[in-house]
Subunit: 351 residues, 2 copies
């Protein structure tokens, strides 16, 4: 029998360590490298075992598990979505995740994913926009200026060079917070009085509101030719942001159709409405933006492979940074079949 | 805004703390109280949101997520099954689990579940046997003397008064380990040379082998009238322990038919073969054992509600024992929408 030391230990990245990791690597570098990992995994889309996330819905929100595997590694994320949380001082969305070795089933990493999800969502949005927005895009409207908004802005700057932001939120203090947090980071920022004002002249519109309802953040008349819409907030049955007419005028790009048809903006459309899968655009199998006047829509709901990419990226950073602790998570008896004996020896040691 | 302290913290029960918790409570008491929790939750079966576990199969084994919710609490377990692990000094089955608040989606507990799964599996087996085995049962054959065997023995003693064990394993050293671990705990133990010898005169037969294959641990001629079979090891597509003819002579009791038909012994039978749900026996809706000569079979695969019971039971023990640590798992910015600001403040603090 091979003796492998510390089989009981799983590296754990706490919230504090995640923040330090992001800062150590640098926010822009982290976003760029994470976007590369996300894009790489979209490129080998067919090697993943895919399933729509497993959702447990309640009146107040949803708890979801998002597993996937590439045959070598297995990852899953636990994530909740509870819009009312904010009023109680809690996060609308919190998450944690695990990466495991498919060969033996042992977890290799447990990490916070509240911050990491914000980063991977923004990185994924930027990857999609790289293929779908007009090449000369510089200006982005962000409608909904909550926890995700600054991450979107930073990712679009780091990956696409977006340097002009037009912010709108029904709560002006959210826009002020967003503008304050992004000050001195190379953006020209305008806080707008309405969604209508925010979208004026924008090359890209990012919608990222949190209400769990059929909302109409954008109406049809607000969307001009050539726009790329990055629709992030509609990600749950009964939770959409765009008027149906916008969808009908757009070319729609999605992550994983079986999940997006349940959760995305396209839940408003018939189940066979044509959409293009983002991975096929990335591999070159399908066309992304075809003309300067086309309206492209990335109907983003967040897919398990993106979390997988984030998990493997974070894991790759641990040896060099040491920004983790060791968690005694797995029972490791001296002899594997002797789980009960381990309990007895623990008892003997306590006496 | 209500300020709630330590929103970032999730109590964590490590392997070491789990062992100390079981020993502090006492193994028998722990098994009895856990069996009560399992039985309680079977009794309110209809209040649970149920789904077959989500399995990711590979050549070497399986990784599964097992979620459930009663509308107030949500629980899930991560568990792997890799029969080849033992040869590498690893556990065949390891697990951890999380209990969360449905109202806000925040985790309330993260715990090791390798030891806890062994305990809850044994407790569930004993609950089933309480309803299905002959009342005067004293003697149990255990075929397969690996990591789960002693837990089964202790649960059947604590809950049913089983005091005579007949052990068999294809590896005699496993039987010796089992007998050694159970010495001085009130059992009369016989190590047998064959499965045939082990079942002679036994009131209950527990099969708990680990090979991922269609095995035939028991053949039809080995099972006499009045026996209760507690079939624990067949719990995966392609992994069974009993000859099909035994199933045809038995009355079969299962946890959750949609899962058991995929994973249990009854995967050998047509999809509409009649089975009885254990919860209905516990509530009195259906009959359990009807006669002294009937062969009853608990085709156990392990269901998410049992892990839920185990999670809520462990959580109930934490305040009085303090046997946990605090994990910084959830981002908790001063203002909930200010996740990015938390990162900036961390940066400022590092300078």
């Amino acid at each position: 029998m091979t003796v492998i030391p510390n089989l009981n230990i799983v590296p754990f990245v706490s919230v504090d360590h995640m923040m330090k990791l992001v800062l150590r690597v640098g926010i822009d570098t982290f976003l760029r490298e994470l976007a590369d990992a996300v894009e790489e995994d979209f490129r080998r889309w067919e090697s993943f075992d895919k399933t729509p996330r497993i959702a447990s819905h309640s009146k107040e929100g949803v708890i979801e598990l998002m597993p996937t595997s590439d045959g070598t590694l297995y990852g899953f994320k636990y994530v909740n979505g509870h819009p009312k949380n904010m009023k109680e001082g809690r996060q609308t969305v919190t998450a944690f995740g695990v990466l495991s070795d498919v060969g033996n089933g042992y977890p290799l990493l447990l990490t916070e994913m509240t911050i990491l999800t914000a980063l991977r969502t923004a990185a994924t949005s930027a990857v999609a926009a790289k293929y779908l927005a007009r090449k000369n895009s510089r200006s982005m409207a962000i409608i909904g200026n909550g926890a995700q908004s600054e991450f979107q802005a930073r990712a679009f700057k780091a990956i696409l060079g977006i340097d002009t932001l037009r912010l709108f939120d029904i709560d002006p203090s959210a826009s002020e917070k967003c503008a304050r947090n992004l000050a001195g980071q190379g953006f020209a920022i305008k806080i707008c009085e309405s969604a209508q004002e925010a979208v004026e002249g924008a090359d890209i519109i990012t919608t990222v509101t949190a209400d769990k309802q059929y909302a109409t953040i954008l109406t049809d008349n607000m969307v001009g030719p050539g726009i790329h819409i990055n629709a992030v907030g509609g990600d749950c049955p009964g939770k959409t942001e765009l008027h149906r007419d916008i969808l009908l005028r757009s070319d729609i790009f999605v992550e994983y159709p079986p999940q997006t048809r349940i959760e995305g903006e396209i839940q408003q459309l018939p189940a066979d409405y044509p959409v293009t899968e983002l991975w096929q655009v990335i591999t070159g199998e399908k066309q992304g933006r075809a003309s300067e006047r086309q309206i492209t829509l990335f109907d983003s709901v967040g897919f398990a492979t993106e979390d997988f990419s984030a998990l493997r990226y974070v894991r790759s950073k641990l040896p060099s940074t040491g920004l983790y602790t060791e968690l005694d998570l797995l029972a490791d008896p001296d002899e594997p079949r002797d789980l009960f004996g381990m309990l007895l020896r623990c008892e003997a040691a306590l006496v």
